[in-house]
Symmetry: C2
Subunit: 465 residues, 2 copies
């Protein structure tokens, strides 16, 4: 280290933070850049998205979910301080205060450049009993381990999942595969509110087919505990659902208490606001990425909060490149997400009906039924594609797909089309891969595009005839 | 029918011709438009792409491959004349001469509008013995039936496939699954010349793994026959390969003898030349589509001939719309193709190295190894992605993918990106579907794009540092 060595401080040791640190280290050696990273938990660079599959038993070991452990990061020249929580950012002074979780010892560390990657926290509703033993979030590996400990030790066989988003749905499947009787209590009419309700209904039916009890339009009012203080049931206004274990899958919020206290700019969803280079707005030497930031939705033009590992990794890569003296940007998202319930694949990208309405877009919708392969080819399975296109312009606005094998990743076609601003008319002639084992001669996405294009054209066709 | 009724004549009863006829009928009733279609074979609207799977036994019945039979077309108001071959187009007189195959009876039919959808013919090398019993092409359902008859009747168990393109590779698999000893004799070093050789090598290794003998860099010089006149072996300059059955998979050529005789414009590949609306160039009332036309390659800017059912269907749709008084175009292709050998999936889109060189494009290539799912998720399998990007601009030029489940249709991401003219740098931030059962946190296509973008940037990065 020399006098000209800069110090980069990274807050948060998961995907965004450690990707940023690693990429910065790749571009600038220790003589140029000292890197100090703080992580309050026990783990670094892990796949939170993998936790439901670990709980289900698809993934054997917790460590399988860890892409790179603390020692590997240290070997790459990153001064990683585990179990150390940053408690204050002093923006004016260019320093952070950190506290060792075990000892409580506090100290200040100055920075030339700062990366905030504090992630998200699961929403824990302010309900009586919600902190009782047996009630679990599943955001961190520590959470996952705690849940697995409960599942291993607890005698009971009844589980209640609160919330029916990605985590709720995946956890419901994990628990039923572990032999639990599972009830999912959900505020909305249908699960997967990231889909329109007509598509969400298919997910509900599939989950019911697995023997999962789906309770929609229900608000949890209380978590009831037994004499041992452990959870024994979940109560709504109308009913009680016995539970030996409760999983909260209500969603997450950006974990930006530190940033808020430091006076950094937050958006309407509580996430940090950055520019395209992932710099915190108005702060030349502070970057932020991952689950703690808001991102631009390229379709609606508005800010969103999306907690997803693939975005966090991209943010980290962009930040590390910029910190390292290069140039990279994260232009935004189109809102792609894929998931599955047993062999039912679920995918969405772009805007739902309500999203389009909210931003003042008028649109046509079509829903088509097709198959994953040529109808005559073995294993061809039904697939439903819903497509939204803007009125007049015909611009693609969103796609939702529910089906079996090969359904989910077909949404990537629409994700690229949304990024490129294609119209549904343009999509009708996309040169997509065709062979009988992989697609009907008209890919389901093309079938939807044709129908959507016809609907957009209809007023002109009528006027012309 | 009234005096103002126009007559549409369609030559060819498969995908392009009958799609055009059906779409024209949808838009214009029998009072406005009389539709006469000629088909020289026994079948209409069938999937030639499905023949290998029918031979393999994946598809039970020949009729499973028929999307719509003659009677169904007739019920929709199309005057379909089966086993009737058009032998002449009289462009000046606006009429076609047709001959009934069974009786030899000839007659003229006048047209107001004409659709030429005469398809392609398999290349049959001009070799001694090539017409011997036991030597089969696999272009039409009739061909497929003849091959199956041979396979059912013939006593032998040795098959030689000449050519290692899509049909050759698929037929080799079909024959080995039927218990044949299979030898593939191929002119190129590696099979699948639609891929670069480094990717084709992986296909060869997979085929050899199935027990298929792969003979590369070999030109067939002769088909040897036995005393019964049937094929008994295939000879190259260096060797003889015993064969009870021979399948020709050398490729196809546009079947444009009729068009040529009529003086219609043909391109360098022997296909009809059309405008964007699929009108034959210079002929206001003649359209052409399917395997008998050349199409614009949107990446190279040059004309190509590609025989593929999905294009034929799109052409038919466009032609039928225009004939029916609407407006539609077929802008061109990017050259997407997918296939498989057992569980090895093979995909390509855009330009190979030699294609790019031929049109004067300089490029960088990268090849990366990744996995189909998160590495820790059960069933994750290796996937190789090769990507070509133009120097300086960074524009994506082509992608080739070889892998297992989930490899082939990933090429659609690149197909849309090529259509939209995205650069590999833009592709690095594509919002592709991510969840552990479907993709690593960086999709293999993104990994390739990142590496390609870094290579494109390298000169600038070096200059800047």
């Amino acid at each position: 280290m020399t006098d000209s060595t800069e110090r980069l401080v990274v807050i948060g040791g998961d995907a965004a933070g450690m990707s940023a640190a690693s990429q910065a280290r790749r571009l600038r050696g220790p003589d140029e850049l000292e890197i100090v990273a703080f992580e309050r938990g026990h783990f670094t660079s892990y796949s939170a998205c993998g936790i439901p599959y670990w709980v289900a038993g698809d993934v054997d070991e917790r460590d399988d979910l860890i892409a790179r452990g603390p020692e590997e990061h240290r070997e790459r020249g990153i001064d990683l301080r585990m179990r150390t929580e940053v408690t204050e950012i002093d923006v004016a002074g260019g320093r952070v205060r950190a506290r060792e979780v075990e000892t409580g010892a506090e100290s200040w560390t100055s920075y030339d450049k700062l990366v905030i990657a504090t992630g998200a926290r699961p929403i824990r509703p302010d309900l009586p009993g919600v902190d009782a033993p047996g009630v679990h979030g599943v955001q961190t590996l520590d959470d996952g381990q705690a849940l697995l400990d409960t599942l291993t030790r607890a005698a009971g066989r009844r589980a209640v999942v609160v919330g029916a988003g990605y985590i709720g749905v995946e956890m419901a499947e994990a628990l039923i595969r572990r032999g639990y009787e599972v009830t999912v209590v959900n505020r909305g009419t249908e699960p997967m509110s990231t889909l329109d309700a007509d598509m969400g209904r298919m997910v509900r039916e599939a989950m019911e087919g697995l023997g999962i009890a789906m309770v929609g339009e229900a608000e949890v009012t209380k978590v009831l505990t037994g004499q041992d203080g452990r959870v024994r049931a979940v109560a709504t206004e109308d009913a009680e659902y016995p539970a030996d274990v409760v999983v909260l899958g209500i969603g997450v919020r950006p974990d930006t208490a530190l940033a808020r206290a430091a006076g950094l700019p937050l958006g309407a969803h509580g996430g940090l606001l950055t520019d395209r280079a992932m710099r915190v707005r108005g702060h030349e030497n502070i970057w932020a990425g991952g689950d703690c930031v808001e991102v631009l939705d390229l379709v609606s033009g508005q800010q969103r909060h999306i907690a997803l590992g693939t975005h966090a990794n991209k943010h980290g890569q962009v930040i590390g490149t910029n910190v390292g003296g290069g140039y990279a940007t994260f232009p935004g998202v189109v809102g792609t997400a894929v998931s599955k319930v047993c062999d039912l694949e679920i995918a969405r990208t772009g805007l739902r009906e309500r999203d389009a309405r909210r931003v003042g877009l008028q649109f046509e919708t079509v829903t088509i039924e097709s198959t994953s392969r040529a109808g005559y080819y073995p294993g061809a399975s039904p697939m439903t594609v819903k497509m939204l296109a803007e009125r007049r312009t015909g611009r693609l606005l969103g796609v939702q797909i529910v089906g079996r094998e090969g359904a989910a990743k077909r949404v990537d076609i629409a994700a690229v089309a949304l990024t490129a601003g294609l119209t549904v008319e343009q999509m009708t002639s996309l040169d997509l891969g065709y062979a009988p084992p992989f697609s009907p001669v008209w890919d389901p996405v093309l079938v939807a595009a044709r129908k959507a294009a016809a609907k957009i054209r209809e007023p002109w066709d009528r006027a012309a005839s």
